[in-house]
Symmetry: C2
Subunit: 466 residues, 2 copies
């Protein structure tokens, strides 16, 4: 008994993939992923058209998909994140149907509830046995957690594992069991290891970033949340990592032991775990090799599903117990709404990922961003796209001051008492405008090319063609 | 944020439990379980009636339920196994509705498919955090695997964790995540450790048992299945354990490394793992403390869900890849049908558990049983109750000879070539009858008190009132 089939073509045929169907992918191989392109190429070669591409994220390595969009092979995209290069193309309006943007928590909720149906899931797996017990922890293309693939594997009508490392049956340390898997395809390489681990996971050396990071750590210290049991999420941007570094110093000095740390996990979080700053890492996605190694070897470093991470449909999740999250922004407006989907011209260059999930869940949601980027203020009257609603954002940290959501008066008082440079967001905007000149925003007026769904599946904004 | 509630009564009230609803329990605390009785007592005290009791198994520690059956609190039972004392009572026909017997694989299949609906699952958990991340590996009432509880937790409308060991949030080595859990109740004790581990897990010293065990190991050796990658399931009966011991000696002598071992896991299986006889243990249920300790500490000892173990609804499961299973029987007939539900008088004293699942899946299904017990032949013209259909049974090993299912001519030839005492099952029956005198079976003629479902949910037999 074996689910191994000859190649992708045979798997696609056996799955009965037809025009108009939905195929899905996870993004744990990040910018090193070979699987999505290989599958879409094969589908195109087989003459199948009008496919809805349901991927937890799209990276620039997936640029070849653009040709398949132009050829009518791909006519729809549902995703949580689109990187700059692909986003620029899609902003030209080349896709037949509007993109559906979801959040990392909303996606599994929609899949598991049946609101979003997947016909065939293709699950890239760094290791698999012949029956489809899979893990991301081992193999030449190890990526660590497979957290975003759980819902796809559980719910898709057909599930194809694509691996470059077949191990003996049964793999005993699987993440996703054979119970979900229909076919296994063994290929030469599922990805490029140097692209699987992100290039962004370095602490910033930029003085502006370091000032923001210092403020961020001090805001957390002053917030009253930093005590034993503290839980924390941060991203892998340079300033966020620097903030984590400063936070670590405070936690060690004050002998504070936190409960758990989340986010795209990097070696910096692993270091905090190993130093005793946290009891555990809850890992829905690894960003670097240190994280992969730690997940493989340290039982305190636990792989979690996207639904456990952030689904609003489950009985509880990890973001809802979170104390503090540090997040980025391409824009933030004076109502504290945050845009991470587009640049200020409205061109797609990101997506919520877990941004709005963590913002909704955490007790303290902090945005850190430089006040001005390339002579454009980060603060606007109204963000080009609402990714995360302002009522879930508590504080904006810039190098020129810290603005508090007026809803959070207690936090404002605490930060003022701590001597932090608290400023009104309107004053901060004026400062930026005095540097850049007031921005003249030209709203894109073309057709709607993307519907942005909030984590509860409601429409929170739309994105238009450039 | 916490799901902790004051006591069982509050949890039951918050769940909205009403007359006529279905409540469920797992049986990992076995004959040491305090939770089922405590919940049913509380329900009775609250005046709720007409409850359907959906438990993966019932043990004699649950005898207090009999009073609640007589009082109309419990009017239905769905289960995979009922121990002798409870079975004797139920065979009197005291329950309002017929019992529904399932298999350990059929139960999760019926629950997950929605064919069997659970209103409120009560999940005994040796460790839980305040949000309901749970494990059976740690705590004073540690039971190891929680494999049979996964489907209940995933599918019940409401899920109540009952624990006697609250740990810090988030428990990082959970088996079942908080995503499924509504309420957590912290009680003094969920069970009696001496009853949680089975008293039956000792190798037999009985000469008859040792002869059967020796034959069993030799049958496996002669079967052509015993080679690298070999997979094996056995129960915890004394003769089965002795067979495993003899098998271990053969595997070590011949330097054979099997793939995985299953079954209620005991220290004997752990020993085989540690000696290198197998690469892994796939554990849906621990039978003793050595198994619990091994599951906690050895990554090669993996907790698996009942659906991964044996559900016929999933895309593949572990029993279907099994080479050899050794199983018991209270009766076997000349068509190789096996009864493990009743004694020969038709009195309930067991149930399929994983018997018919493993029999259906394994390449070689072996029944071992003494030819005669208490002057009753194990071989009958027709079993009192068909638990496992004869076409899934390959060989019967008794101390007086080995009978092969006539469908398995190749196996018969192999065993004969190996010099094993192969005999016709009718001749074996004659031998037994010559010892006992031919049995005069009185079929129970009372009302149907139990419907026995095969693993595919079809009705395979019924059991009548004594």
């Amino acid at each position: 008994m074996s689910k191994l089939v000859k190649n992708l073509k045979e798997a696609i045929t056996l799955c009965g993939l037809k025009d108009g169907m939905t195929i899905s992918f996870h993004h744990h191989l990040r910018n090193g992923d070979y699987v999505l392109n290989a599958v879409v190429d094969e589908i195109a070669a087989m003459g199948i058209k009008d496919i809805n591409l349901h991927a937890s994220s799209l990276f620039d390595i997936h640029l070849p998909v653009i040709e398949h969009i132009k050829n009518g092979v791909i006519t729809g995209i549902e995703t949580d994140y689109i990187s700059t290069g692909v986003g620029k193309q899609l902003s030209q309006g080349i896709l037949k149907n509007p993109i559906i943007f979801r959040t990392h928590g909303g996606r599994p909720a929609d899949i598991i509830s049946g609101r979003s149906h997947i016909d065939v899931a293709f699950v890239a797996a760094p290791s698999s046995d012949k029956m489809g017990n899979i893990t991301g922890k081992n193999g030449k293309s190890a990526c660590g957690s497979l957290g975003y693939a759980f819902a796809d594997a559980m719910c898709a009508d057909k599930v194809v594992v694509v691996t470059d490392n077949i191990v003996d049956y049964p793999m005993y340390d699987y993440s996703i069991p054979e119970t979900n898997i229909d076919y296994v395809v063994n290929v030469d390489k599922i990805g490029n290891p140097s692209g699987i681990v992100s290039g962004t996971t370095k602490i910033t050396r930029d003085p502006v970033g370091l000032v923001m990071a210092d403020y961020a750590a001090k805001v957390i210290k002053a917030s009253s949340l930093l005590k034993d049991g503290f839980s924390f999420q941060t991203g892998a941007g340079g300033a966020s990592l620097a903030a984590a570094k400063y936070l670590k110093d405070i936690m060690l000095a004050e002998k504070i032991t936190g409960s758990y740390c989340m986010g795209g996990i990097t070696g910096y979080m692993v270091d905090m775990l190993n130093c005793g700053c946290f009891e555990s890492l809850m890992d829905v996605q690894c960003f670097d090799l240190d994280a992969v190694n730690s997940l493989r070897t340290n039982p305190k470093h636990k792989e979690v599903s996207a639904e456990h991470y952030a689904s609003p449909d489950v009985k509880s999740n990890l973001v809802n117990s979170l104390d503090v999250v540090i997040l980025g922004a391409t824009e933030i407006d004076t109502d504290f709404n945050v845009n991470v989907h587009t640049d200020s011209s409205g061109c797609i260059m990101g997506g919520s990922g877990g941004h709005s999930d963590a913002a909704a869940g955490a007790k303290l949601t902090m945005i850190i961003a430089p006040l001005v980027r390339a002579r454009v203020s980060v603060i606007t009257d109204r963000v080009t796209c609402i990714s995360t609603p302002g009522n879930t954002v508590d504080v904006l940290v810039t190098q020129r001051g810290i603005a508090i959501n007026p809803l959070r008066t207690e936090l404002r008082d605490r930060l003022k008492d701590a001597g932090l440079p608290v400023v009104d967001i309107f004053d901060l905007k004026k400062k930026a405008d005095s540097i850049c000149g007031e921005a003249k925003i030209e709203r894109a007026k073309g057709k709607v090319i993307a519907n942005v769904l909030y984590r509860d599946a409601s429409l929170i904004d739309t994105i238009r063609m450039i």
